[in-house]
């Protein structure tokens, strides 16, 4: 198993290098002059300023050279400097990524917590009202545009019913917890600032629900479908014939097998959400990676685009590996080699 993991990790290196090359070429070949973005239209007309800044940001080097310089810096853990924020990209990612991680965990956590039981119930009580409800919810979750859902949720739960706090990560003017992981909920607990913890948790709830809605539908449909499939399998009939309670049959025998496709899908969704849910983050004024990446793309912020591509590429590789490993845990018949 360890050998398997090690081999997969080594194999992923050329893959990630490929990601950097493609990202580098695309960001450099699309039209648009980053110097105008950097200097403004007026100063960009000043040749002295343009020459000085081209030198500073490395735009005066030929393209292959710039790529090699990028790789060299990368090997030393230097992701370069962002044009948009004028800070090291690594620092930016450290700043914005935890917010996205927190939101992703919240969204997927809610989706799994509600979606798995809902899927089970829908499968066990097939064609009952609960099955219809589950179908309805998943339809809504996957078909309603997320920014619309977000605005409606804010209008209803924040403006009208006053149940949810305002968009943002913390209450206005509240000092964030000392940075340990960057996850406000965790850091506030670790530093024993419980007021901050409650504020962070409350602020996390609504965006997690909105972002989780689409995942919820997916999870419940996946669980229902695969559970229905295995419920007709021979080993389930055997389990029932042994006289096990229906509960035991479903939870210990059927569900474990039924979860495999769900885990695969969840892994992919997880990696996707980690890349940043731009619309949700924008509507909820959530300072996450998605908004950072969107700004970088619009502003032709090469280093930032490269940094985010690298991170997201690595995430997908890591998640795929984790998913494969988890198969072995869920189904002992699957051997990784």
């Amino acid at each position: 198993m360890l050998q398997y993991i090690a081999r997969r990790v080594i194999l992923s290196i050329p893959l990630i290098l490929g990601v950097t090359l493609v990202a580098f070429l695309v960001t450099n070949l699309i039209p648009g002059d980053p110097m105008v973005r950097l200097l403004g239209e007026k100063t960009a007309e000043n040749p002295v300023a343009v020459a000085a800044y081209a030198k500073k940001w490395g735009f005066d080097q030929p393209l292959p050279m710039r790529y090699l310089v990028y790789l060299k810096n990368l090997s030393q853990g230097d992701l370069g400097q962002s044009i948009e924020t004028e800070r090291p990209v690594l620092e930016d990612i450290r700043e914005f990524f935890p917010a996205t991680v927190e939101l992703t965990i919240g969204a997927i956590g809610l989706a799994v917590l509600l979606g798995v039981p809902l899927g089970i119930l829908a499968a066990v009580r097939r064609d009952s009202w609960i099955d219809h409800l589950a179908r309805f919810l998943s339809l809504i979750g996957s078909s309603v545009p997320v920014f619309w859902l977000a605005l409606i949720a804010i209008e209803l739960l924040f403006v009208q019913l006053r149940l949810a706090p305002a968009p943002g990560r913390l209450a206005t003017g509240m000092e964030p917890p000392d940075r340990i992981t960057g996850l406000y909920t965790l850091d506030s607990l670790l530093t024993l600032r419980f007021d901050v913890f409650w504020s962070a948790l409350a602020h996390l709830a609504l965006p997690s629900m909105v972002l989780g809605a689409s995942v919820l539908g997916l999870v419940s449909r996946m669980v229902r479908g695969s559970l229905l499939e295995v419920l007709n399998a021979d080993y389930v009939r055997t389990a029932r014939a042994k006289g096990l309670t229906e509960r035991r049959v479903i939870v210990s025998h059927a569900l474990r097998n039924a979860l495999i496709p769900t885990v695969t899908v969840l892994g992919i969704v997880f990696a996707q959400l980690m890349a940043g849910a731009v619309l949700t983050e924008t509507t909820f004024a959530w300072p996450g990676l998605g908004r950072y990446a969107a700004r970088a793309a619009i502003g032709l912020d090469f280093s930032a685009i490269m940094g985010v591509s690298l991170l997201v590429g690595s995430l997908f590789v890591a998640v795929n590996l984790l998913v494969d490993v988890s198969y072995g845990l869920l189904d002992p018949r699957i051997r990784l080699s």
Partner: protein, 548 residues
């Protein structure tokens, strides 16, 4: 590349940063100016009853918090309250310049030497007094950093310290509007002693030797009404009250600026009292809020403009390069309909100089007239019209969707046989092509850098300044001559006459004209008093705001 596919169309962030100018100035005329010390701002800083925090919601635009490097809206609004400038635009009359750190000034006859007296009661929050040395250091640093806002000091030759309270600025060529350029937020006066201790450099080597940006990003060393308390990117920027502010006030304890990217969410936060001021509501949202109890929604005149530009190069477009065709286009647009897109909240000046700016009212605007338009087209040799490709950026600027405006103009021009082949593109692509001079015609936007008609004359029309003319190929020797004369004379009556002559040529040549000058939307909770946009567009004075 999935990532980019998802990202690119997403946010219509205003891409075109920085095309700017400002304006007023009727007043630089006199050779001496005086700070109206009667204004409320200069009342003695006696005991002020400190009020609660003021919260301000806007989509964050911050790259740098170094006052000589920044050029993004959020940073400019925040630091305009942290660093003082030498002069400012009179909030009561935007055509006048009044003192701020400078109490009076003298301008020589040909507008090349500006001597300013610095007030002796202003102190930086570091405890050091504001002196002429700080002024020299700040102006030199702004210019020598060659950063985004440096252009404002173009033409500055030297700054001399005469005595601790007097400074002399010498220009390479006459520039009567120069005084109004000193009101630009980025001509910020910083504590030179402390700045130097943290790696700030003001001489020619500043462009690569200055190491103070990081310091400025976390600290402030100004003499303004507030200090920079903290900044969390894409979250909050907090300003603390400066209790020793020389100018009186401020009244609120802290100003908390919150990042709220969505206009609708800004409205929701305002409704619930989470924020006191919503900076960028769109017209529709503002309309839905107007008249609600607890809300103040005001539409105030701005000097921002959306303008159309046309190539003068036959190689780019033969029909458009003819001034008759451009005049025909100008007469074929139904401006009432355009205004209706903004619910009527806007104005239309005769030429590129915005309404309300000195000199703009010396001529009358062109009215819609299809017959005249058709005969102009016929005179140009295109009686049946023509087809032309028009690229435009998919942006929302000043709360106006470019697509809406362009489709409207497309429909209007169809009436005289001109078919616009509209091609929406990304903002960066548009700007690349516009700067390269490849576009036949299109739409652009202009926000002022300094409030003087020169900001809409030089950069647009003068082939000596050669900013937009570089893109359109427009050149008119008479315009160049009049433009040089307009900035060489401090006499207001003389200048007015020159602007009348210039605008008559602008109407005739029609290389650019303003489509709409949209109002600015001020939205706040009723407990906020004295909220207004002062001086030029991007400045909000928090020091005068009181909470009821």
């Amino acid at each position: 590349m999935k990532l980019f596919q998802r990202l690119i169309p997403l946010v219509s962030v205003a891409l075109i940063v920085g095309a700017c100018g400002t304006e007023p100035d009727g007043q630089s005329s006199a050779t001496t100016g005086q700070s109206p010390s009667a204004s409320s701002q200069v009342s003695a800083p006696s005991e002020v009853a400190v009020q609660e925090d003021l919260t301000f919601g806007m989509p964050f635009e911050v790259a740098s918090l170094d006052p000589h490097r920044m050029n993004e809206e959020t940073a400019v609004i925040a630091l305009g309250n942290v660093y003082d400038t030498l002069v400012q635009i009179d909030p009561a009359d935007p055509t006048k310049i009044i003192g701020r750190l400078a109490t009076s000034w003298k301008i020589n006859d040909d507008s090349t030497v500006f001597t300013l007296t610095i007030r002796d009661d202003a102190k930086f929050t570091t405890g050091n007094p504001v002196t002429a040395d700080d002024v020299k250091f700040s102006l030199d640093r702004l210019w020598n950093l060659q950063a985004s806002p440096s252009f404002i000091l173009e033409g500055m030759q030297s700054v001399e310290v005469v005595d601790p309270q007097t400074v002399t600025i010498t220009l390479a060529a006459p520039d009567a509007p120069f005084l109004s350029k000193l009101a630009f937020t980025m001509v910020a006066i910083v504590d030179s002693k402390v700045a130097k201790e943290h790696g700030a450099v003001s001489d020619e080597t500043a462009v690569d030797q200055d190491k103070a940006e990081e310091f400025f990003n976390t600290t402030s060393i100004g003499s303004g009404a507030f200090t920079l308390a903290s900044y969390a990117p894409n979250q909050e920027l907090i300003l603390n009250r400066n209790p020793d502010y020389w100018g009186g006030g401020p009244y609120v304890n802290r100003v908390i600026m919150k990042d709220v990217p969505e206009s609708t969410v800004q409205r929701q936060l305002l409704e619930r009292g989470e924020i006191d001021i919503a900076w960028s509501l769109d017209f529709e949202t503002a309309k839905s809020l107007a008249g609600r109890s607890g809300m103040n929604v005001e539409f105030v005149p701005s000097i921002n403009t959306l303008y159309m530009f046309f190539t003068a190069k036959p190689s780019v477009s033969n029909p458009i390069s003819k001034s008759e065709v451009r005049r025909a286009i100008q007469r074929a647009i139904n401006y009432d309909d355009v205004l209706a897109l903004l619910d009527g909240h806007g104005r239309r000046p005769p030429t590129t100089i915005p309404a309300g700016v000195f000199g703009a009212d010396t001529v009358e605007p062109v009215q819609e007239n299809l017959d005249e338009a058709r005969s102009l087209l016929a005179a140009a040799g295109y009686p049946d019209g023509f087809t032309v490709d028009v690229q435009y950026p998919e942006l929302v600027r000043f709360n106006i969707d470019y697509t809406l405006i362009m489709t409207k103009i497309q429909a209007d021009l169809q009436r005289i046989g001109i078919k616009l082949n509209l091609q929406p593109v990304a903002g960066t692509v548009f700007l690349d092509n516009y700067r390269a001079g490849n576009l036949a015609m299109g739409i652009g936007n202009w926000a002022p850098d300094y409030v003087d008609p020169d900001d809409w004359t030089g950069p647009f029309w003068s082939s000596k300044v050669n900013f937009l003319t570089k893109r359109t190929g427009y050149s008119n020797a008479e315009v160049d001559r009049l433009h040089s004369a307009s900035i060489a004379t401090p006499d207001q009556e003389e200048r007015r006459a020159i602007y009348k002559q210039l605008q008559e040529i602008f109407l005739q040549d029609a290389a650019y004209f303003t489509v709409i000058q949209p109002d600015f939307i001020l939205a706040s909770a009723t407990r906020v008093e004295n909220y207004r946009i002062i001086y030029e567009l991007r400045q909000v004075d928090f020091s005068t705001i009181k909470l009821k």
